[in-house]
């Protein structure tokens, strides 16, 4: 067939594509989790206006949101994150250092980018919590940790869900950019397949479909979570 569908099946590219999709999802998940952790810490700092940390956080989010992700990835990749190799070796994963290098760089890069967006989402969510709740809790004499644990955190997470959905969608799509530094994720596999078989149309179309499936399934998942939370909140 003109578009080489047969070659896709024949040369075992299907397994490679599935493997790539798995790597994409794992990078996405790890980066998202890292980004959320960063987002919660930085969002809290920004909301609580802890000088001068909040200035640093402001600088971080403005920088990451203002500079193209491709540039951030190239920078992190090429500027010899030598210490990454040292860190990995120090942890005893010397053998993994070779293949794990690109993966670690990918998670660091995408996690950093995701964290900046998460920070804004968390900050917005925190700002939406009615201050009356927190004042009442303080008036009742509840300790700070209890206030956070019982009043702030649950509301923050619930309000932030739509925003986190957006950040996830962006994060999983940004993982495609890490293909330029050689990580064997979905986009990279399609790229290799497209180049070696000289049939770019099929391969990139398949990649698009797989990404679409991932995003649509995630969207459905998040819609379900939102519905659940709305039901619970209606108590």
């Amino acid at each position: 067939m003109e578009f080489g569908l047969w070659q896709v099946w024949d040369a075992g590219w299907v397994t490679a594509i599935l493997r790539g999709a798995a790597v994409t999802i794992s990078v996405g998940l790890l980066s998202m989790v890292a980004g959320l952790l960063i987002g919660i810490v930085c969002g809290l700092i920004k909301w609580a206006r802890i000088f001068p940390l909040s200035l640093l956080v402001d600088g971080y989010t403005s920088l990451v949101r203002g500079v193209p992700e491709l540039l951030v990835i190239y920078l992190l990749f090429f500027s010899s994150v030598e210490f990454v190799t040292k860190v990995i070796t120090a942890f005893g994963y010397a053998g993994l250092a070779q293949s794990g290098y690109a993966f670690v760089i990918a998670v660091i890069a995408i996690g950093t980018i995701s964290g900046a967006y998460s920070t804004e989402v968390i900050r917005g969510a925190l700002a939406s919590i009615p201050s009356g709740h927190i004042e009442a809790a303080r008036a009742l004499g509840l300790p700070g940790s209890r206030i956070f644990h019982r009043i702030i955190a649950p509301q923050m997470l619930r309000i932030a869900v739509p925003g986190i959905n957006n950040v996830w969608q962006t994060t999983i799509k940004d993982t495609a950019l890490v293909s330029v530094v050689g990580l064997q994720e979905l986009m990279r596999i399609s790229y290799i397949g497209a180049n070696s078989t000289r049939h770019p149309f099929v391969f990139y179309l398949i990649a698009a479909v797989v990404y679409l499936v991932i995003t649509l399934v995630s969207q459905a998942g998040f819609d379900g979570i939102e519905r659940l939370l709305r039901l619970r909140a209606r108590r």
Partner: protein
Amino acid sequence: MKMKVLSLLALLAASTGSALAAAGELSIGTEGAYPPWSMSDANGNVTGFDADVGALICTKLEVKCHFVVQAFDGLIPALKAKRFDVIISGMSITADRKKEINFSVGYAELANMFVAPKGSDLAGVTDIDTLLKSLTGKKVGVQAGTTHAHFLEKRAPDADLKTYDTLDQMQIDLASGRIDAAFADQSALQDFLDKPDGKNFQLVNVKIKSTFDPTLGEGLGVGIAKENTELKAKIDKALCELVSDGSVGKASQKWFKTDISRPCN
């Protein structure tokens, strides 16, 4: 007492220097997307002329070979970041590159040529000056970070230079007609012409040797980090032996049907 300390220090120094050899493995950075020099399949196995040269060196040094695939323009920064020990990826020795890393002795020569559609006005050119002049305004493809890219940037500044990350992408665009010509090493271009995509193209009959311009380098070498002087000495010795006993030449014949090895001096 002093002697003991000194000898201990000497032992320490020697061991860090030869740490790589002692580990029994040589990690080699290569592009993996430049047939017939360096090809890698979906599982990461590397084959090609560079892989064979690497294997020959490893056997001589009695260590195991381990290949790391990396985009070409990222090879030097990655070597400096100690991601691997050496670079064997059809990399030419140039003055600019020597500022960043060391090279072994040259082990092979490149013949740089242009590829153009059959019957186009570029195809018929036979001397280099006409060729460089006729590139004005034409779209010419090169690979990012190569001596070919730097040569055309310097010697054909009026050409519309299109830079690609890999040879394959450049050849896809050449086949579809987006660029008027491509400039790369003869063996890589010949590989393209032998494929069905390349049947409407031909080599322009002008061989540009590396001696024509310093941007084209002084032959191909193995890239080694600057501080790794002991490894460089070992590899130099191994390469000279391999070239003189013909092993490199044999590998060259296997992949290029011609001997491109270069005697070491």
